[in-house]
């Protein structure tokens, strides 16, 4: 192992939290059972890492092996990256070829290597016909930088690709090109959809989030449902309020469903709309220009928080379509202008 590889191996192992060390090393499957048994995992981390690096040295670990470990680490810590969603399209009338994973991988790698002399590409297959790709970028003259890789998760049976957000913007067009050509698509477009939670992005993009949907019988008589509400409700609330509360619950349920919401952390709206207010006539009446606003909603679980607004009385029910369309439109970045 040369110095650079050794350093790369060491730094990758060092990232792994002690609690996950054995799990990740087993998933990596590079060091044998026998070798792992010789390690005392109760040691202090620094010396444990040193021992592990020695074992890797014995087995002549390559850059690719270390890169594979890095992929596994990232798979366990997906939320440390921000993921963008891209959609690929085929030309209308193009043949739908049978997808060949081997051919895709080799084609993808070739395209990148032809463009940049120095690039390391590593693949790891996962379930659901998906593949994780790790790309470390270099240039014609510089070796790949292993510490700022881009991760791509491609579900081969779908036109969707998830790419980790990186500062290396210049690499995106090339990456897009490699993906489209290798997967036999025509175009790739970045969707306005971004989150740390890859699972949630997946769930929304593949419309899988209502799989835990319990059949909610919407025709349950009013009285029966009232019994559920009564437990929490103030007995002093009179009939009209009960009806309104029930309506709000029903409308919210219709929009958001009865299942746990997929997890997004934010939604951003760039607004360029004129100021119009029924109550405040005359304010900004002569102004032709719109108000330029930027609104950002943030929450540990945005959709759950939005779901709770109308029942709490903070928002009207139904909630604005600008908010409720997020899962359907698979977007969380919007630009809104007056029509």
């Amino acid at each position: 192992m040369d110095e650079i590889v050794a350093e790369f191996v060491k730094r990758t192992i060092l990232k792994i939290p002690m609690a996950e060390m054995t799990t990740i090393l087993k998933a990596w499957d590079f060091l044998s059972e026998n070798q792992l048994q010789t390690i005392n995992f109760r040691k202090r981390k620094e010396s444990l890492v040193h021992d592990l690096v020695m074992l890797c040295e014995e087995k002549h670990a390559s850059v690719n092996d270390a890169a594979l470990l890095d992929i596994i680490y990232t798979q366990f810590h997906q939320h440390q990256k921000i993921w963008d969603v891209f959609q690929m399209t085929k030309e209308p009338g193009e043949d739908i070829d049978l997808f060949d994973m081997k051919q895709f991988k080799s084609s993808f790698k070739k395209i990148l290597q032809r463009a940049l002399k120095n690039v390391s590409v590593t693949f790891r297959d996962t379930e659901e016909n998906a593949v994780w790709i790790r790309i470390a970028w270099g240039t014609q003259y510089k070796k790949p930088n292993q510490y700022k890789p881009t991760y791509v998760v491609y579900y081969s049976q779908t036109p969707y690709v998830f790419i980790s957000s990186s500062r290396l913007r210049s690499s995106i067009p090339l990456l897009g090109q490699a993906l489209t050509v290798a997967s036999k698509h025509h175009r790739i477009v970045k969707m306005d959809f971004r989150s740390r939670y890859l699972d949630s992005l997946k769930a929304i993009v593949f419309k899988q989030y209502n799989q835990t949907f319990e059949t909610h019988n919407a025709s349950t008589p009013l009285q029966e449902r009232n019994l559920e509400l009564d437990i929490n409700m103030d007995s002093r609330i009179i009939h009209e309020n009960i009806i309104e509360k029930d309506r709000v619950q029903r409308v919210t349920q219709e929009i958001f469903g009865a299942y746990p919401q997929p997890r997004l952390e934010f939604a951003q709206y760039k607004l360029e709309t004129k100021f119009k207010s029924d109550l405040n006539r005359g304010i900004l009446a002569e102004r032709k220009e719109p108000l330029r606003c930027l609104v950002k909603f943030s929450s540990p679980n945005l959709l759950e928080a939005l779901k709770s607004l109308a029942p709490a009385g903070i928002a009207d029910a139904p909630l604005s379509p600008l908010l409720t369309c997020i899962p359907q439109k698979r977007m969380n970045y919007f630009k809104i202008k007056d029509k």
Binding site: S277, L279, R292, C293, E304, L306, S308, L309, S320
Partner: protein
């Protein structure tokens, strides 16, 4: 300074002083204003010409800008004297070094070679009656003679009283009334300084929270400032703490548009009324409601930020300098 009660009457007046002042004075005026950001009772009028514009040395107070200050309210100091500042410097230095050596507030690698300086801040007051503001700084004594003789400033805190007439009337002569304390620097140092002051002058510090009512006044007044050009957007942060998950709503509006909205709302020149502030905020909230159907008024305003200054409900403020050409 008044306590922070909502005034009974619906309209109060504040003189708008921004006409004819230099940019630095405008920013400092805002600092002065924000310490008296509570709309006063209807009878009270802020004088046209404040001490700030007369006595202040721009160089000396320029360092107050661009820093984040944490606000505390302070009870009157017993037997504090402006003639003893030298002694206070010495005693406080000794106290801090002693406490740090005790290991009570030790950070690894901390330099114990420090010096405390007390100095008066001229001009940071509202009327002549207000006691002078003073400044406390902890400096690290530099080892190298070639470096700045004064050493690096580790911590700054200043005490002031702006338009404290109501309070001054109630306090006896032995007490010095400087109800506002602003600190910038490590929490540990703030705590040490606070302990010494509490022991020496029998006073009490408490963190000053800024409520939503006052934040909206600040937003309106700062938006009202005439600026040569805008550096930052005007931003509001609302928090919805209830429900299964907390939700933060950041609402930024282009500063020119915010100013246009304010100008449309603002009627009488030279004064800012409660109705105007309410209308300004109401317009912003109704614009938001039109798009999102969410009632911002049912949530908690937590932070306001403009090109002039920003303030957070937890008592942290920052006054920015707008470099005008």
């Amino acid at each position: 300074m008044d306590s922070y009660d909502i005034p009974e009457s619906t309209s109060s007046r504040l003189k708008d002083h921004f006409i004819g002042a230099t940019p630095l004075q405008k920013r400092l005026e805002s600092v002065r204003k924000l310490t008296s950001f509570v709309p006063p009772s209807p009878q009270r009028k802020i004088p046209q010409c404040s001490q700030l514009q007369e006595d202040v040395d721009p160089q000396k107070v320029a360092f107050l800008l661009h820093k984040q200050w944490t606000l505390y309210s302070l009870t009157p100091l017993y037997k504090f004297s402006y003639t003893n500042l030298r002694e206070y410097s010495k005693f406080l230095s000794a106290f801090i070094v002693a406490e740090k050596q005790k290991g009570l507030a030790v950070e690894v690698g901390e330099d114990l070679n420090i010096k405390v300086i007390f100095s008066t801040l001229l001009g940071m007051k509202g009327t002549q009656r207000d006691p002078d503001a003073f400044l406390v700084q902890i400096l690290s004594k530099s080892h190298l003679p070639s470096e700045n003789r004064e050493g690096k400033v580790l911590w700054t805190g200043w005490f002031c009283c702006i338009f404290g007439d109501n309070l001054l009337e109630t306090v006896s002569e032995d007490f010095t009334c400087l109800p506002l304390f602003l600190a910038n620097g490590a929490e540990t140092n703030t705590a040490l300084i606070g302990t010494w002051f509490q022991k020496t002058f029998d006073c009490h510090f408490s963190p000053l929270a800024i409520n939503a009512f006052n934040l909206s006044w600040m937003a309106a007044m700062w938006t009202a400032c005439r600026m040569d050009h805008y550096v930052a957007t005007t931003e509001f942060l609302w928090s919805v703490p209830c429900g299964p998950q907390s939700l933060d709503i950041a609402y930024a509006i282009h500063s020119e548009d915010a100013k246009a909205l304010w100008d449309s709302v603002h009627k009488a020149p030279g004064e800012v009324t409660q109705e105007e502030v309410d209308l300004f905020m109401d317009c912003l909230c109704s614009h938001f409601h039109r798009h999102f159907k969410i009632h911002l008024s049912a949530t908690r305003l937590v932070r306001v930020s403009t090109s002039v200054a920003s303030a957070h409900t937890n008592g942290k403020i920052k006054v920015s300098l707008n470099k005008s050409s």
